[in-house]
């Protein structure tokens, strides 16, 4: 009781003198509550037969329990999406995650500062371009029209036909991986390069005195010193194993392969916003969201154990 009074007193006193600080926090809090918390609660749509017009926010719609989830798993389209969402992320992780690490090491070994700086500036560039633009460029490279460079090169090398690459769903994961690597590998090197630059120069001197050549310095100094960064980043990358990159997939898809390349987030966009099946789409999104949250929380816990820090 006394404790509570003291706390109240403390808060009250703070309000008297520190109110501008709370005022400073107010916009951020309002935006967070309205645009981050309310949508969490409107997820209950997944358990309703949602009608937009029924009651406040449509929340007077009838409850149907888990019916939408049952429907979802009976829909032929949905179960393969789970596997595919997972598959695309695993590909991205296995092939895309080591790329910045390797590239950073190679940049670090370049002797010419001019080369270093030039390639860094170029590598960071695609990070500042939208997926819509990247998808447009991809389209231009893979088209069968005369501008399609990939087909032009194939024909120069003796191929007889021009392939419509974007027509085959089996090509799609590779298009995702390659465009993803071109877009984000360079940007990903920043953190590794910072870790490398943080290595104490004395370690290199010591290695040299012990007779280590460049390879020896790399194996005994550079590599071990950025390994922790790599492990932490890898652990956190597992947190996005069930998240799909909506922008990338949505922009690179086309009508022919859409059905066979959809992932959960793209599916809930088409089903929900496009076709108006709000409850079904929310159920799909919620299914993904719950698995995501579990993954994120576990990797955050794991990362904390490994590094002593969480996300913040």
């Amino acid at each position: 009781m006394e404790m509570e009074l003291r706390r109240k007193g403390r808060f009250g006193r703070a309000m008297k003198t520190e109110w501008p600080l709370y005022l400073f926090l107010l916009p951020a809090l309002l935006v967070t509550i309205i645009f981050a918390y309310l949508p969490i609660f409107t997820n209950v749509i997944a358990f309703m037969d949602y009608k937009f017009t029924k009651g406040w926010m449509g929340l007077a719609s009838p409850w149907v329990g888990f019916k939408n989830f049952v429907d979802l798993f009976h829909d032929k389209e949905f179960p393969p999406l789970i596997w595919r969402t997972f598959y695309y992320s695993v590909l991205r992780l296995v092939l895309g995650h080591p790329a910045p690490f390797i590239l950073a090491l190679l940049i670090n070994e370049a002797r010419s500062r001019l080369v270093k700086r030039t390639v860094q500036t170029i590598y960071y560039l695609p990070h500042f371009v939208s997926w819509t633009v990247i998808a447009s460029l991809t389209y231009w490279f893979l088209t069968t029209d005369i501008e399609g460079l990939v087909n032009n090169i194939r024909q120069m090398l003796g191929a007889q036909n021009r392939i419509i690459f974007m027509k085959y769903p089996e090509n799609f994961p590779w298009i995702l991986v390659i465009t993803g690597m071109i877009k984000e590998t360079g940007w990903g090197t920043i953190i590794y390069l910072a870790a490398i630059s943080g290595v104490d120069a004395q370690l290199y001197e010591a290695a040299k005195i012990d007779g280590a050549g460049r390879w020896g310095q790399f194996v005994h100094v550079t590599f071990p010193s950025i390994l922790p960064t790599t492990v932490i980043l890898l652990i956190f990358a597992f947190g996005s194993l069930f998240a799909s990159n909506f922008d990338q997939i949505f922009n690179l898809q086309n009508d022919i392969i859409r059905y066979d390349t959809n992932t959960i987030s793209v599916y809930s966009y088409w089903k929900g916003v496009w076709a108006g099946r709000y409850s079904l789409a929310t159920a799909a999104g919620l299914f993904q969201g719950v698995i995501n949250a579990i993954l994120l929380l576990s990797v955050n816990w794991l990362g904390k154990k490994a590094s002593g820090h969480g996300f913040f």
Binding site: L29, I40, T121, Y123, T132, I146, F250, T282
Partner: protein, 317 residues
């Protein structure tokens, strides 16, 4: 211009001019070749589209235009830049980029400053409130329903308000604010300065580098954003953004926009004499460039701010 991140001292041997071993020489050369090849792979797609956009459309259809325009023309850009739809999209995008970034800067800056005050009662509760949405969130539809019910569908507000607070950027700003010596603020307080005065007169001027960083991060986010237009304002053509225009034109192949090439924007003069050389494909390449070039031009000059942002963001508490 580039970062000075990873400059480790040159090895003693190279300083003394002692020759590298054969293995090292081979590695060094292969490494540079690889780095340049990857740089080429990254840059060439943009270069290729730029070349096509500066070449006459009919001539491009003959093939063989790879590295340099064969028949120079600015006609393609003429079509794009005089098209009212493109101009509207440009205006909307610039407007949302500027207003959205300023708003975001204010909201995040205020919050960051308040969060530097460790003794503020309720501070850790507020941080928890900010952090939870990083783990769980709404779904496409639950956001859509909310925005619809708030009456923000098809309005300009949906571009700038829902995303104006970003906890990640706030943390970056707060981390930077910790470097300001507390004595400055204390002496101002002694002189009777209010928190508002301190924030705007002392903290903000000292935070200019991070203000630039956050502004740029936010501006790039606004410039590149397709999602909010796609989902919330798809049916209001008056506030279409550049990215969405590009999406409709090239990826969704919306036929109504193909009129872009059907009516020459200016009659008479050199323009129409060239007009029959124009193809829809060529005009589309010009659209891609018009959407991309502003960022490609400014980015190299601002690179250090972006890198700084990433680095401060990765430093944990």
């Amino acid at each position: 211009m580039a970062t000075t991140l990873h400059e480790r001292p040159r090895s003693l041997r190279s300083n003394l001019g002692i020759k590298r071993s054969i293995g090292e020489l081979i590695f060094d050369n292969l490494n540079v070749i690889f780095l340049l090849a990857f740089a080429f792979m990254t840059l060439y797609p943009f270069w290729y589209i730029l070349v096509l956009s500066l070449n006459e459309g009919k001539d491009s259809m003959q093939g063989g235009v790879w590295f340099w325009p064969r028949k120079w023309t600015l006609t393609n850009y003429g079509y794009v830049l005089l098209n009212p739809q493109v101009l509207t999209a440009y205006r909307t995008t610039i407007l949302r980029t500027l207003s959205g970034s300023v708003l975001s800067l204010l909201v995040c800056g205020f919050a960051a400053y308040a969060l530097t005050k460790h003794r503020l009662p309720g501070r850790s509760l507020i941080i928890t409130i900010f952090m939870i949405p990083m783990f769980i969130g709404g779904t496409v539809v639950s956001y859509y329903v909310l925005i619809a019910k708030l009456g923000m569908l098809n309005t300009f507000w949906v571009y700038i308000i829902p995303g104006c607070f970003n906890f990640f950027l706030t943390i970056i700003v707060r981390t930077y604010m910790y470097t300001i010596p507390p004595s400055l603020e204390e002496s101002a307080k002694m002189d009777g300065a209010s928190y508002f005065t301190i924030f705007f007169r002392i903290v903000t001027p000292l935070c200019m580098p991070i203000v630039a960083t956050v502004f740029l991060f936010s501006a790039v986010g606004h410039w590149l954003d397709l999602y909010s237009n796609l989902i919330y304002t798809a049916s209001n053509k008056a506030i279409m953004t550049l990215q969405y225009l590009l999406y409709l034109l090239i990826l969704a192949k919306e036929s109504s926009l193909n009129t872009l090439t059907e009516h020459p924007p200016i009659q008479g003069g050199a323009f129409t004499s060239r007009a029959e050389q124009v193809t829809p494909q060529a005009v589309k390449t010009a659209v891609i460039m018009v959407v991309t070039l502003p960022i490609l031009f400014v980015y190299p000059f601002l690179q250090k701010y972006f890198v700084q942002g990433v680095l401060i963001g990765s430093v944990k508490e």
